[in-house]
Symmetry: C2
Subunit: 168 residues, 2 copies
């Protein structure tokens, strides 16, 4: 059986590895240069992304920038590989309901398959949730498949409604 | 038993009443003057609306106007009573996914309890769906309770995912 000292040593070692790992990952706002850092390849792990040129990317990036703080695309970069390994977006919807309240919508959350299990998804979710709260939202919502319900429950979310969709 | 002629006469009469009724209802974009036409009272039938002054309403109205065609609040006015009796909103989310695609989000659909059964909900939904399609969205989505699933199915929507939410 492992002694307390051995367990403690192992725990210190783990913490050290985790700290080193965490230091390799930096969370920040999406930048135009992330086109070259695999941002779209990462999104392609979530859904169909299609061929997007640098020019098309920059155009969309600037459109979103014009929304100011009402739209935020958050990314985590792996500094060692200079690749984007996690992302998620939040936009703030201005309503008349709830005394002209605001609702945060979280969209397009994905973590690169090579770095899953390092809690990067939680980091993204914690950031986006806090962002919506700081923006004055009375709630933050997202749509997901049943299989991801457990992950979002761990992030503090509750299954409240159903999503209906119509594709053109 | 009713004869075919009687049924036909009744049907003509119904059509006439419906046409007259339809003429009383006009569908258009939300205007600043709708504050005085009970727009917020109507929203209050959907969820908590709270006390909103004319000034606060106008401020939010102008904020939404600054989004241009990416946000549209549709209303139906009863011309006889000069009251807003139905509403729904759609906003266009610009994404990187789907070749920098757009997704339409339908929000805050409600019909005044006094005019239900006149298909005003369908009129609102048809308009908002068509609006999203014309705006170039590849899909349009909404969140609702299970009890409203049937209504949205009749509007062509399918239950595809679950909604998760976190309230602050």
């Amino acid at each position: 059986m492992e002694t307390i000292a051995e367990a403690s040593e192992k725990s210190d070692l783990l913490a050290e590895i985790q700290t080193e790992e965490q230091e390799n990952f930096t969370l920040r706002r999406l930048e135009a240069s992330d086109y070259a850092k695999g941002f779209l390849d990462l999104l392609g792990q979530l859904s169909v992304c299609g061929q997007v040129s640098q020019e098309e990317f920059t155009k969309r990036f600037e459109e979103l920038q014009s929304l100011g703080d009402d739209h935020f695309v958050c990314v985590i970069e792996d500094l060692q590989s200079a690749r984007i390994v996690a992302t998620g977006a939040v936009f703030v919807e201005r309503k008349f309901l709830r005394t002209c309240g605001k609702a945060g919508h979280i969209e397009d959350v994905v973590v690169d398959s090579s770095v899953r299990g390092k809690h990067l998804g939680h980091k993204i979710m914690n950031f986006l949730t806090q962002y919506a709260k700081n923006a004055g939202c009375y709630k933050v919502i997202l749509d997901c498949s049943m299989e991801n319900e457990g992950f979002y429950e761990k992030c503090g979310f509750k299954n409240t409604n159903i999503q209906m969709s119509l594709r053109f």
